[in-house]
């Protein structure tokens, strides 16, 4: 028996893996926004970027380097710098 939530998140975040194709992510964008998602982030660990989408057609706003990720209308006041977000990838023993 599986327990699957029948809810539509306001925010969906996807982290890219090497085998994810552009087509696949474009389809996700379409599905999510048609379902009612309001904000979508696609995180690229290799490039250390975040693409921000607010609609089905949105080509996406690219955030990189010292940019800051904000929550728009979904999470007003949220502010995460890309540097602090990707810093966890560089952790090492002190």
């Amino acid at each position: 028996m599986t327990l699957i939530f029948d809810i539509i998140p306001n925010l969906a975040i996807e982290v890219l893996s090497p085998s994810n194709t552009r087509q696949e992510m474009a389809l996700k964008q379409k599905e999510y926004f048609e379902a009612g998602v309001e904000l979508m982030w696609i995180v690229d660990i290799e490039k250390r970027t975040v693409q921000v989408y607010t609609s089905v057609e949105d080509p996406g706003l690219l955030l990189q380097h010292s940019d800051t990720l904000t929550g728009g209308d979904v999470l007003p006041g949220l502010s995460i710098t890309l540097q602090e977000m990707f810093a966890c990838l560089d952790e090492a023993a002190p």
């Binding site: 028996m1 599986t2 327990l3 699957i4 939530f5 893996s17 090497p18 085998s19 994810n20 696949e24 966890c88 990838l89 560089d90 952790e91 090492a92 023993a93 002190p94």
Partner: protein
């Protein structure tokens, strides 16, 4: 599920996991599906959050992976524990592994039980984990709201709502009231 039992490789497993076709573990060439579970995900993420807060406050003593980390415990066995914690000393170069499927043995593994998990299945997992060198396994049951802390395949201490469980020698100083996991 393709490929047939006994013929699956790490690449097959990764492809399914990366494309989110299914959450699968690899056990000696056979892909084994991990059930889809939203509620359990909340518990796993909350526990990881509490562990990270603890490390931030006291000392960053290792890496704490969340629910979809693909970890090769031993040749032929790749599991996706719900939460795992690995001390720096256990990592080849004492930093974050860059491979998609790191071959590491966490000090701590946490599994959150689903209704479809059987007693035999969880015992088998504990056998694998302890054989690989895991020091502690926490099995969390949302149905009974209990946390079983295993220090060997069968040696276990049960904690119920109202109890507080701790990180023992694996994460000294870490404590958490059981009820917080299910709040």
């Amino acid at each position: 599920m393709e490929p047939p039992p006994g013929q699956a490789t790490v690449k097959d497993m990764l492809q399914k996991v990366e494309r989110k076709e299914a959450l699968v573990e690899l056990v000696h060439g056979t892909l084994v599906e991990k059930p889809m579970r939203a509620r359990e995900s909340l518990i796993a993420v909350y526990l990881r959050y509490m562990l990270l807060k603890f490390f931030e406050e006291f000392e960053e003593i290792g890496i704490c992976y969340g629910p979809d980390a693909t970890i090769r415990f031993m040749p032929g066995i790749v599991r996706l524990p719900d939460v795992s914690f690995t001390r720096w000393e256990r990592l080849p170069v004492e930093e974050i592994p860059q491979e998609a499927v790191p071959a590491i043995v966490p000090n701590l593994v946490v599994e959150i039980l689903s209704k479809s998990n059987t007693v035999a299945e969880m015992e088998r997992k504990r056998q694998e984990y302890f054989k690989a060198g895991v020091e502690q396994v926490w099995m969390i049951d949302p149905e009974t709201r209990t946390v079983n802390v295993y220090t060997s395949v069968k040696k276990m201490k049960r904690h119920s709502s109202g109890d507080t469980f701790s990180g023992g020698t694996v994460i000294p100083g870490f404590t958490l009231p059981v009820s917080e996991l299910f709040a």
